[in-house]
């Protein structure tokens, strides 16, 4: 594997040269794609983030002004940050618990495992626009099924999506419906667990709780870590549901980061400002990924000794 290109001692063999040529030809779509659809846009949006740019006129360099305004003067920026983190803080742990619970239930080798798995997975493939419209109807305060169910048990349900203090909980509840993707990933992990571990623990008289806390969770920690990172990145891109259901309302209670970014770019045509938001998001995502990977070595079991 260690091919040293251009080294004087090891001149490139004709075979390597041929491999390089053929390899590059086959990989050409990705190389061109990276340049056109990733590298250029990344550089361009970084540049735009230092400009004032309304599309109609060419960009004007303003230095750090966009970042300054965002971090010091824009109350909506902090509001959207708060909304996003609120959704993250409640959606992520509850999704992990529910998805893991479902995966552990399915892992009990019950009959019809595939059937149940299909049912739990199905919500994740429903188009977001369709599920958003459906959940609006479920959350309908007067005729929706949720408040009807609450009424049955004597609770007068809230306005959900139309009430500023219930709109975020409503979104979090809706998000739980589509944890099936994580469930499938956790299930794959659980099925990889060595059986001997459980057998040894059972001989030692461990009960279900002990086994879960001391075996399953440590073993599953890489999967949980992986999913938490991706969920956190996902929440900052949470867009379709709020765009369809609330457009940020009521009273900005569901205006999340990605929605505000989109609105700055394509509703107010503040491309420079939106680019600055995008780069803050990007730095946040990269930083988070690096940080979690770095600290994970300490409290995550990766197999082996």
């Amino acid at each position: 594997m260690a091919v040293t290109v251009g080294s004087r001692r090891q001149p490139i063999s004709p075979r390597t040269r041929r491999n390089l040529r053929v390899g590059l030809i086959f990989a050409a779509p990705a190389i061109v794609g990276l340049l056109l659809f990733v590298a250029y846009p990344l550089a361009a949006s970084l540049y735009y983030s230092f400009t004032s740019y309304s599309v109609l006129q060419p960009p004007v360099w303003v230095g750090l002004e966009n970042y300054n305004t965002l971090l010091r003067e824009d109350p909506l920026f902090y509001k959207t940050m708060y909304n996003t983190l609120f959704i993250a803080v409640f959606t992520i742990p509850s999704s992990v618990v529910v998805a893991m619970g479902l995966a552990m239930l399915l892992n009990l080798k019950v009959r019809g495992q595939a059937f149940y798995r299909t049912i739990f997975y199905m919500p994740t493939i429903v188009p977001f626009v369709a599920s958003s419209v459906l959940w609006l109807w479920i959350f309908n305060p007067q005729y929706g099924i949720l408040n009807a169910g609450l009424w049955q048990v004597g609770i007068s349900g809230p306005g959900w999506i139309s009430d500023p203090s219930w709109s975020k909980p409503a979104l979090i509840l809706m998000n739980l419906w589509s944890v099936g993707g994580w469930m499938v990933i956790y299930l794959a992990g659980l099925q990889d667990m060595p059986k001997e571990l459980y057998e040894a623990a059972e001989l030692d008289g461990a009960n279900w709780w002990n086994k879960t806390v001391h075996l399953t969770i440590p073993f599953m920690s890489p999967y949980i870590l992986f999913s938490v990172i991706l969920m956190l990145i996902g929440v900052f891109q949470y867009f379709t549901q709020v765009a369809v259901m609330t457009n940020g309302g009521p009273a900005d209670s569901t205006r999340v980061y990605a929605l505000y970014l989109y609105q700055n770019a394509f509703t107010y045509f503040k491309m420079g400002y939106a680019s600055a938001m995008a780069w803050l998001l990007f730095i946040f995502v990269v930083g988070l990924t690096v940080l979690i990977f770095r600290t994970s070595a300490r409290h995550v079991y990766y197999g082996g000794q």
Binding site: A30, V55, Y116, I145, A148, L261, A265, M271
Partner: protein, 295 residues
């Protein structure tokens, strides 16, 4: 449970003997009860969707809610599909899905082949970069891309949505590379001795083996494009160019209380996805099984 065993002392002996299997049975019953209860919870939104779409208006706006439409009616479907130019949106969506699937499969498998089976310096670097780009949020790139496509005169067409799929999609490159690496190299080497070119090995040896994985890639691309909302929202302006997802969103924006027709259109948009999922589930499992193919 305790009362039962006290009332029948004879059973206690048997119980002790079959303690383990009884515990297994209890566990199995309990887990089925839990799974059935949870299934009902997960299925309720689907039933509510379907039920509302088939109900006449007075039952839609009834309290407490009516579950069984009486009489079931297709009126909402007629109204909904006529309110939006459904067939035009469907045509646009299918063009978007179809051309994206073809492009993704061709470009991603070429790249994955290069990364998995051709030993060239730099391939691991390229792979690392591709994997890293998976965390780049679309929000970071969509403004410059919008401006590029604007300058190309591609706005309000499906081109900005389709074309990027023809340049390799990192996640699918990753998936296909994993699969290609499991195919023994001897398979290709034998063909090389017979004078086959790299292209012929790719086309005649590797790709036929990869059919189930390619089906998976196709399925996921179908789901992604059929469900895509952000892309069409950014690039499409005129209703005659809309896809279904954006058409439904616009319908909901204009007529927010036409719940019957809204549920009907939502059902129509959801059904193909569910059908595609059921249809390919077998292929998907086959793909996993085939990974252990012999040389």
């Amino acid at each position: 449970m305790a009362n039962l065993t006290e009332a029948r002392p004879a059973a206690r002996v048997r119980e002790a003997q079959s303690h383990v299997s009884r515990r297994k049975l209890t566990q199995s019953v309990l887990s089925h009860v839990a799974l059935i209860a949870l299934s009902i919870v997960f299925l309720t939104p689907f039933l509510w969707l379907l039920s509302t779409s088939l109900k006449p208006d007075r039952q839609i706006f009834a309290f407490p809610p009516v579950w069984i439409p009486n009489p079931p009616t297709l009126r909402n479907y007629q109204t909904g599909l006529n309110f939006i130019p459904f067939w035009i949106y469907l045509k646009n969506t299918l063009i978007y899905c179809g051309l994206s699937i073809v492009g993704t499969i061709i470009s991603s498998s070429l790249v994955a082949y290069s990364l998995a089976r051709i030993r060239w310096p730099g391939r691991n670097i390229l792979f690392g970069i591709l994997v890293a780009t998976m965390i780049v949020p679309p929000q970071v790139t969509f403004i410059p891309l919008f401006l590029v496509f604007k300058n190309l005169g591609w706005l309000d067409s499906l081109a900005p949505l389709i074309v990027p799929h023809w340049f390799g999609v990192p996640f699918f490159i990753f998936l296909l590379r994993q699969f290609f690496m499991t195919i023994p190299p001897e398979l290709g080497e034998a063909a090389t001795i017979d004078g086959a070119s790299e292209w012929q090995i790719f086309r005649k040896v590797v790709m036929p083996l990869a059919t189930p994985v390619l089906a998976t890639v196709g399925l996921f691309t179908f789901l992604n494009t059929w469900n895509d909302f952000l892309g069409p929202l950014i690039y499409l302006n005129s209703p005659e160019n809309y896809t279904l997802s954006i058409g439904l969103a616009q319908f909901r924006g204009q007529y927010s209380s036409l719940w019957g027709p809204l549920m009907a259109v939502s059902t129509v948009i959801t059904v193909p996805v569910i059908v595609a999922f059921f249809f390919t589930q077998r292929t998907f499992i086959q793909g996993i099984t085939l990974t252990g193919i012999k040389g």
